[in-house]
């Protein structure tokens, strides 16, 4: 087998940088970051209507919600 016959491996570095936390509650912050990552590439919909969520809450606490996006760099 020639050197170049072996398949190239698509590799990515994990550098431990996950951005600054927006929520001072690590489990909630983890959920926020996952939602943020997902909502950058998927559009949620309901009955065919596109949704544009920007906050979330845990089902056991209807009184407290959290932002999903860090939009602080968008000032003019």
């Amino acid at each position: 087998m020639k050197k170049h016959d072996k398949e190239f491996v698509y590799r990515f570095k994990l550098d431990g940088k996950t951005g600054r936390p927006l929520i001072d509650d690590p489990p909630a912050e983890m959920v926020r970051k996952q939602l943020e990552a997902l909502l950058k590439i998927v559009v949620l919909s309901e009955g065919g209507r596109e949704l544009k969520p920007d906050r979330f809450r845990f089902m056991n606490n209807p009184l407290k919600d959290f932002p999903i996006f860090d939009d602080t760099d968008s000032d003019t």
């Binding site: 170049h4 590799r11 489990p27 970051k33």
Partner: protein, 588 residues
Amino acid sequence: MTDKGLSRTAQIDLLSRTLEGLLNVIAFEVKGAPVHVDGFCLRDGEHRFPPLEVDDDSPVLDPYYPPHYFRANEPRFEMIRDIAGTLLEQVILVQGERAVHPDGFRLKNLSHWLIDGEDDPGAVLNSISWACKVKCIFCYERGNPPELNFPPYKTTLREILTSVRYFDPVEKKRLPIPSRYDNNEILTFPGILEVIRALRKKTDAPMINISTSGTMLDEPFIRQLAENKPLLLSISLNSADPGVRASIMKEKHPEIPLRSLPLLKQYRIPFAASIVAWPTIPLTDIENTVAYADQHDPLQIRICLPGHTSRFSQKILFDLEDYWGRLIDLIDSIRDKHDTPIIPLPYTYEEIRQGHFSFVPGVGGVIKNSPAWKAGVRYGDEILSVNNVPIRSRRFLQALMDRLKKEGTKTLWMQTRRKGKEEERIIRYSEETFDHQYPYLPETRHFDVNYYGMYLYDGFDPADVIRLRDMALARGAGHVLVLTSWMIKPYLELALQHIDTQGVRFVPHVPENIFMGGNIVVGDLLTAKDFIRAIREYCREGEKPDLAVAPTSPFSSWLRDMRNDHFLKIERITGIPLYFMETPKLWS
């Protein structure tokens, strides 16, 4: 456990599902070696697993891809990295009885990640990133904003041969390409001929739009390229004067690319020539370069109207409108002397300069010896009907031509108008090789957007405004802010004069390009942040619109701009509902 929030059980369940999802598509790596994670424990709990030792003598590995290289066409790699990162903040992965501290990950199965593309093998070649041998004084790389200054990346032969292996011209699938914003010079890649041969074994389809500065195009190289025809090149000519070319491109041997034009014709490889009309190059030199290129029958001569960012020069180096105007006047004055189509880019400006911008479907150029050329169609002809179908607009003509081209229609009866005189033109397309004369060879049909050899004017379509009006009425929006570009605004205003807006107030507005700065005016280079700023300023100065409209052209198919901001951010930040209007890129 938190009383109101994510419970421990729910947290573990979420982590477990996340990890399971990730492990379906990736393998974590420690020091470059793949590891087989079979569990995890929470970081905030107690654990006593010693770290997993990996063999430091692992074989040499392929380099890491920075995931942001794939933002434009496969942002899910970046999403995987982000989700894996959040997971690792919460857990320690475990393999057997050992703690795993991964420093990277690899995709498990590349066939899961094939994306839809074209059957053009040239698209695979475009994933090659290799250093350019010239250093043009106007190179846009010198003026990129920091967000676009990616570290240099050099493709490996194994990497590109893997892309060739996964390229499926029948299903039109290929691996995602690590796209970046610095320049790729494909032909200087050391294994380029091996790659081209491998692609040629896979498909007979033409390799289109291979862009090059021409430094490699000596006769032995062209001969080897010719063995792998059909292919089409796009050469940065810039100047036909060796001294001028050497000085503006910092090139040691300008004679090689200059001699390549007759050689390409000799070896029957069609090509396009491009000239960046930088203001320090005398207009007479541009005129001479066009004449030189025309002698060797390129498919087209592109004259790129220049601009620069604020990073390139804080001081505005030239009055863009004045200089572009002089270039258009030059093109107008020399077009009749040459057979080759001379296309200014962005071409929309030509109509603005001439002051008779309209929606009439017209011909922007005709490739020499093409079916349209042989039928007598020329630059400036207006197309009134095709195969007895009256042409209502430019977009309508393009859609009709797309369909006829796809269906393989061989004969077109066209009613045209030139200087007020109507004529019938019969365009006959033959697939017989002997009917083709250079530069219009069978493969030329696939080059760029040409229809039977004709380049058609694109641009704004009045039907778009009617669609906008109907959309605004359906949403109950009486005041619509239409964010557009300096070059499209006159078309939009003209269209608004000619349609019944049914009471909807449309306000065209051109956002300033702060991201690029300088004298950049092309709307395709705006960012979400530029749009946000423009909407906010508009709201500050007056009444809030009910709706804002932004073009799709500055955004990728994943709806991200060059800074990786999603278009939804505009609506989220400004609070003004946004409608995203489908618009072609001006440079296409």
